[in-house]
Amino acid sequence: MSETGYLVAFISVAAIATFATRIIPFLFFERHTEHPLIKHLGRYLPAAVMALLATVFLQRSGDWSATVPGLDTILAGALVVVIHLWRRNALLSIAAGTAAYMLIRQTGILDSGLAG
């Protein structure tokens, strides 16, 4: 598949998948909104999926062959948690964590600091 062909297919699939999550209740669940299984999943699934994604991508951001494995991602991730619990401002938390991670990656500050 060509690059453009892949991008077109990708955007179409992503658009359909996203729209599906929004329209399915209106197509199939007009009569089942009170079903306890749907209520149960509606209550717990979003939190579980977010935690799952956070864990997978935290792991993928880490340098696990460093002196202290994964310290880069753990430090930046912990900063996001602390700042978010402190100010509860999503953009501030994301900006601070991303800036910290970029600083760590671009300066190699953890490696030199620990080696010295």
Partner: protein, 234 residues
């Protein structure tokens, strides 16, 4: 009416512009596709976390089935937004399809929390405009970010951490709203198991399957327990 809709959606503007820009910068700095694909995604997909995840899926040249499953599950929370709006959207006519398409987290929170008059048609028109205004903010943010990322030279190494940070923030928000940490531990544990057992390309789908199974088991146990209690009381 548009000025009152603008005032209502102002907080969303302040949220969507920077987040859309973050997506645009990420798209333009991580990928080699034309910059305008970023706003195009904002128009056609219109999902914050979904589009940011899409950047890493595009970078990995992910298979289309994996793209579908990952996007569907990431946005699965929207399934439950619709359930609570079945009644409210009734009678919206031609507007209904767009109201459903534009049902993001922020639009949902605005549509369900604002005060409504008895005039259903008028209120649905306001809902429609709120949805459209919000998407305009989002697409403008995506455009600005993509242009910025393409034209301003800076070392963007590590900017992809924005995705991780976003998921951490969303996890904390879910945890606070729920007041129960079980699903968070279940999700993290499922991810851990999938990462140990599966190659990277299948970890996301594997973890999703595990955590869904855990939640179904939990549902069965809760039902069995409440059923037993119910019998004792009889």
């Amino acid at each position: 009416m548009n000025s009152s809709v603008f005032r209502l959606t102002l907080p969303i503007l302040f949220g969507y512009l920077p987040l859309g820009m973050a997506f645009g910068v990420l798209f333009a700095t991580q990928l080699d596709y034309a910059w305008w694909a970023a706003p195009l995604m904002g128009i056609l997909i219109y999902a914050g976390a979904g589009q940011i995840l899409a950047v890493s899926l595009l970078a990995a040249n992910a298979g289309l089935l994996e793209v579908f499953i990952a996007m569907f599950v990431l946005n699965a929370r929207h399934l439950f937004y619709g359930l609570s709006l079945l009644g409210q959207f009734r009678g919206a006519g031609w507007r209904k399809l767009y109201l459903i398409f534009g049902l993001t987290d922020e639009t949902y929170s605005l549509l369900t929390s604002r005060s409504r008059s008895q005039d259903t048609l008028h209120e649905l028109d306001v809902d429609f405009r709120i949805t459209a205004f919000n998407q305009v903010y989002w697409v403008v943010g995506c455009t600005l970010g993509a242009l910025l990322g393409r034209n301003v030279a800076f070392d963007s190494t590590g900017i992809e951490f924005a995705l991780v940070a976003l998921f951490i923030v969303l996890t904390i928000e879910q945890l606070k709203a729920l007041g129960d940490s079980f699903p968070v531990w279940a999700g993290a544990a499922a991810a851990g198991i999938a990462m140990i057992l599966l190659p990277p390309a299948h970890q996301l789908i594997g973890a999703i399957a595990i955590v869904t199974a855990v939640l179904l088991l939990q549902y069965r146990n809760l039902r069995a327990r409440s059923g037993a209690e119910g019998n004792n009381h009889v």
